[in-house]
Subunit: 257 residues, 2 copies
């Protein structure tokens, strides 16, 4: 099942990104991210999704490898599983920080281990997501970390705009033509995904893979359902921006055109 997902994500990576805003370092070179997890399916999933962002990815399966790779790869951000075979996530963090004192870290943790282990981790500006995560969530958090760390161009701001529709990633506010629109968490993530890929058809499989967590086992028509929710809130009584391409997927584009 996970390999099906990989196939979908892979399909996306082979399509050339068009008109997407990319995060770049000040010198114009791509952002570098190190992914550390002992499950190979996870590192592969993440690597492909993050490469799609235009980032350069290196991965490691344990703490030792992570520290070694970090030394010469010099990543701008690290995705780090807290549960590694050879050392504790915190130990890895300590060693990473010795070489790269300013690198922001996105922790991956099990849902139930959050309370005690995470305390203090987000303190420095780091962040975490719980497993199982959605790829959109990981990407969004990473973008936030990189943007705030100063490794990337600071011109990039936190607002997505498509036509008269705006979505602010910091305040989680959405408005169309000035009217504020309240969205639930899932609706917000779905809309963010659409808006980050304007004028591009996204298949239901792709949407499911990026917006829902990787272990989601439900009916594929949740996507239809949530598209329907979004339309009710965003397109209601207006020129529609969310369009169905029968047999292909959905896309968002400015109302005028």
């Amino acid at each position: 099942m996970l390999s099906e997902r990989l196939a979908n994500v892979w399909a996306m990576t082979t399509t050339s990104p068009q008109g997407r805003t990319e995060l770049l370092r000040p010198d114009g070179s791509p952002v570098r991210v190190l992914v550390v997890d002992d499950e190979q399916s996870i590192t592969e999933l993440l690597s492909m999704a993050l490469r799609y962002e235009g980032w350069q990815i290196r991965s490691a399966g344990d703490g030792t490898g992570a520290v070694q790779t970090a030394r010469d790869f010099r990543p701008d951000a690290v995705v780090l599983d807290m549960m590694l075979p050879d050392m504790d996530g915190l130990a890895v963090l300590g060693r990473l920080r010795r070489d790269l004192p300013d690198v922001p870290v996105l922790f991956l943790t099990a849902k139930d281990a959050v309370e005690d282990r995470i305390a203090g981790l987000t303190a420095g500006g780091d962040d975490y997501v719980t497993k199982p995560f959605s790829l959109e969530e990981v990407v969004a958090r990473l973008r936030g970390l990189i943007r705030r760390s100063g490794a990337a161009d600071r011109r990039s701001d936190s607002t997505l705009v498509v036509g008269d529709l705006t979505l602010d990633e910091d305040s989680h506010e959405v408005s169309r033509a000035g009217d504020n629109i309240h969205l639930t968490a899932t609706e917000f993530e779905l809309l963010r995904f659409l808006m980050r890929n304007p004028r591009r058809v996204l298949s239901k499989a792709q949407i499911l893979d990026r917006v829902w967590s990787y272990d989601f086992g439900g009916q594929a028509n949740v996507v239809e359902l949530y598209i329907s929710y979004l339309r009710r809130k965003i397109d209601a009584g207006r020129e529609p921006m969310i369009h169905t391409r029968r047999g292909a997927g959905y896309l968002i584009k400015p109302a005028a055109s």
Copy 2:
């Protein structure tokens, strides 16, 4: 006129693209802080949190190292644990002052330590916090020290304003639309954290990590509880300013909008 101020005012504030206010030195370079503690977890925690403020951090694990580092790092402020393996905090202070007579020092002390010793020291303009501290507390105290150390006639920008809500970091006074509001210490710190990040969603984990002390092991719903207290005092009978983003966190913003 502005350059006059820059010349006279030792430290000034600017606003970063993310809307956070940063302390900068007159020449625009980042503030430098030296962190001295023998527990590596503490220096790491503080380093990360202070770097996030945009400051340049160097750390040392003992008195000797501190004095050496201070000599060529020339910090604008020092965070100094009173309990060091090789020498007493007072001895370190003496030697630091030989090289940097005006540098303000923030002492870290155990809760039960004799406080009269500290009391004498802080008369000179230094300050202290007790372990275990909260990061917001340390950051706020440091900002105060740095701000005060430089200028006799520095502009008093110790007030945070969001809409008709104001919070004075020096006097700890809070008022909304002119009405004074009494807050407890924890409520004050939580509100300060929210107000220093207006219009930005802060997760419960982030809040817990910055507002509560680093050894807090309790339930995450204290955050909900204190948000509820704040609402009762700040939003009571008015247009609410504190908003819940279900599944994401909380944020504060001006009532109008």
